[in-house]
Subunit: 352 residues, 2 copies
């Protein structure tokens, strides 16, 4: 059995139906369904359809509040702190992004953090939201399982703590960086298991410092930070900004959501919006971004390199291709989703 | 001849006298002298005394405006954009940090960017300024020479574009990350030349992709980004935030200040302040940072690792040791500074 393709609209409907079946109110199920389908659409395969079952397990275990009262608990003109009331992270972060955009419209910049949130999918989803308002978006999050020790250490006290930044362009695709502060995100390790592939050397090491390439053995080792101690520092800083500052979990407080389905994760995240118009003329800015993008792309290349890519450009092209051709899902994942649908009594995903 | 030690207070006086000799007004010379001596004090040896001669060359070539009218050209409640009028970067960034702090006091967060600024020393100097006001500081800058091609490319269109973030703690040293988005900063390459040392494999490669370890051959190759394409993305994003957004130089517009002493660099930087009190109780936050720091430090260690360090902790200890024992300067650098002093008719640095 090989991979099959499903339409974006079908995947959105399917995930929405799954979330509604699990008990989310219709409007909330739609938000989560749309954002999870968008994650899959842009190629974030560790954050799309693959998460339906883990989310279902957590919801069924009582680990998610299906009727959260998401509220502002601290606020100034340029910032707010949200209490997510243990709701789905997508709902908390969609609200945070909206508030950050409103604050940036007034103050030029807006920053909204969260506590008591949950896993919200790929960082770029929320960094990209301000772009519709000609704003730059930034997103920081504490990952939901610790896979990284401090540099030189063995105790896994840090997570992949991602950073995303999205910068609107003119005619070019926006520049969107979405990176774990580890060489690989843990979602990518899980996707390797699903696809039955091995990991490249450099993603993980075992406790003796030896390369670990079998993703099924992931629990025996830990992820490597980018640039050695620099990535350790970045992961820690992201955790301080998205977790500690918000009164959310950091370090040993982080709940491993792969092992513990029921405990409140107290996930911390933050979205920032920067209003380009506060700095000057928006079309002039976008033209400068376009010019820079073209200059980088036109660089002389190393032998064997066919094309210079900009951050986010491959996701942008994948998004267009997936909208046109449908989204490829691995056979093993399709099978799991079909079983879930049958059990839940919702319509199965239809392949194209 | 080996290295000699000078007192911090002496170095500050010496650099101030050097800057005044070069034509900076007394108050401005003091600001630059203090910040350059502080850079050396914390161990940023690529940004302290070693920069006196390059700055002198630029000033004498007419590349710096000695009487800049540093002014706000865009402003909202939470942000401002400064025109540095081609003054010394230290003056522009000290002003930017002060404004960001004031804005954060009102809005919870403040962001101040610059155009027409110049090299300002180590990123952490400005990220640390908000900490005196119980604020978190962030700093982004476009480097003043391109040493990094886009990933897969050969044209050096990007710089080391550093990021610094400083988070206040309670009894522990603050957590201060100050990192180039390349494996090594170019200032470190220059320091290797001064010290007559070779570079580790991984800092630079030549145009054929081979390791380059002789720092005197640095012009034949380029710096490596951290985490491969991730570091390339980070460098670009920092450049977009600190350069393009501010109407400052990016990409091919960046002036190589090692080769061109007279052209206006149009350097872009940005300082952000986040007021911890906007998010909740400040002592409680600092206690959480202390707890996290201690937890990381207490991690079980890999074989051969004597101690787990936190970002900024070694600089913090070096600062204390250097205040007590004096700052070590390489013999070659001392000789250059002595020659400069004799020529300028200012008192030479006195060794301890």
């Amino acid at each position: 059995m090989t991979e099959s393709r499903v339409a974006f609209s079908q995947l959105k409907l399917f995930v929405t139906a799954a979330m509604a079946h699990l008990g989310l109110p219709a409007a909330d199920a739609q938000v989560v369904g749309r954002l999870m389908a968008e994650a899959e659409l842009q190629g974030s395969d560790g954050h799309g359809a693959i998460r339906v079952l883990p989310y279902a397990r957590r919801i069924r275990a009582g680990g998610i509040n299906l009727h959260p009262d998401i509220k502002v608990i601290q606020e100034r003109a340029g910032m707010a702190l949200l209490d997510g009331d243990n709701g789905m992270g997508h709902l908390v972060m969609a609200r945070a992004a909206q508030m950050a955009i409103e604050k940036a419209r007034q103050c030029g910049i807006g920053w909204v953090g969260s506590r008591l949130s949950n896993h919200a999918g790929p960082a770029s989803l929320y960094a990209c939201m301000p772009m519709a308002h000609d704003m730059i978006g930034l997103y920081f999050a504490v990952g939901n399982a610790n896979h990284l020790p401090p540099w030189g250490g063995l105790d896994m006290l840090l997570s992949t703590n991602p950073i995303a930044v999205a910068v609107p362009a003119g005619d070019e695709a926006p520049v969107v960086l979405d990176m774990a502060t580890t060489v690989a995100a843990y979602g990518k390790v899980k996707a390797k298991v699903q696809r039955g592939e091995t990991m490249p050397v450099g993603w993980m090491i075992d406790r003796l410092g030896q390369p670990l390439t079998d993703p099924k053995r992931a629990e025996e080792g830990f992820l490597m930070p980018i640039g050695g101690y620099k990535g350790y520092g970045l992961s820690l800083i992201v955790g301080l900004l998205a977790g500690t500052l918000n009164g959310a979990a950091m370090g040993s407080e982080v709940i491993d959501f792969n092992r513990d389905q029921a405990s409140i994760t107290n996930t911390g995240q933050a979205v920032m919006a920067i209003d380009v118009s506060a700095f000057g003329d928006v079309p002039a800015f976008k033209a400068r971004v376009d010019q820079l993008v073209r200059e980088l792309r036109a660089s002389e290349r190393m032998p064997g390199v066919e094309r210079i890519w900009l951050p986010g450009e491959q996701s942008h092209e994948r998004r267009i291709a997936n909208l046109r051709d449908g989204i490829a899902l691995p056979a093993a994942l399709r099978k799991q989703l079909d079983e879930f649908a049958a059990e839940a009594g919702i319509p199965a995903l239809q392949a194209l």
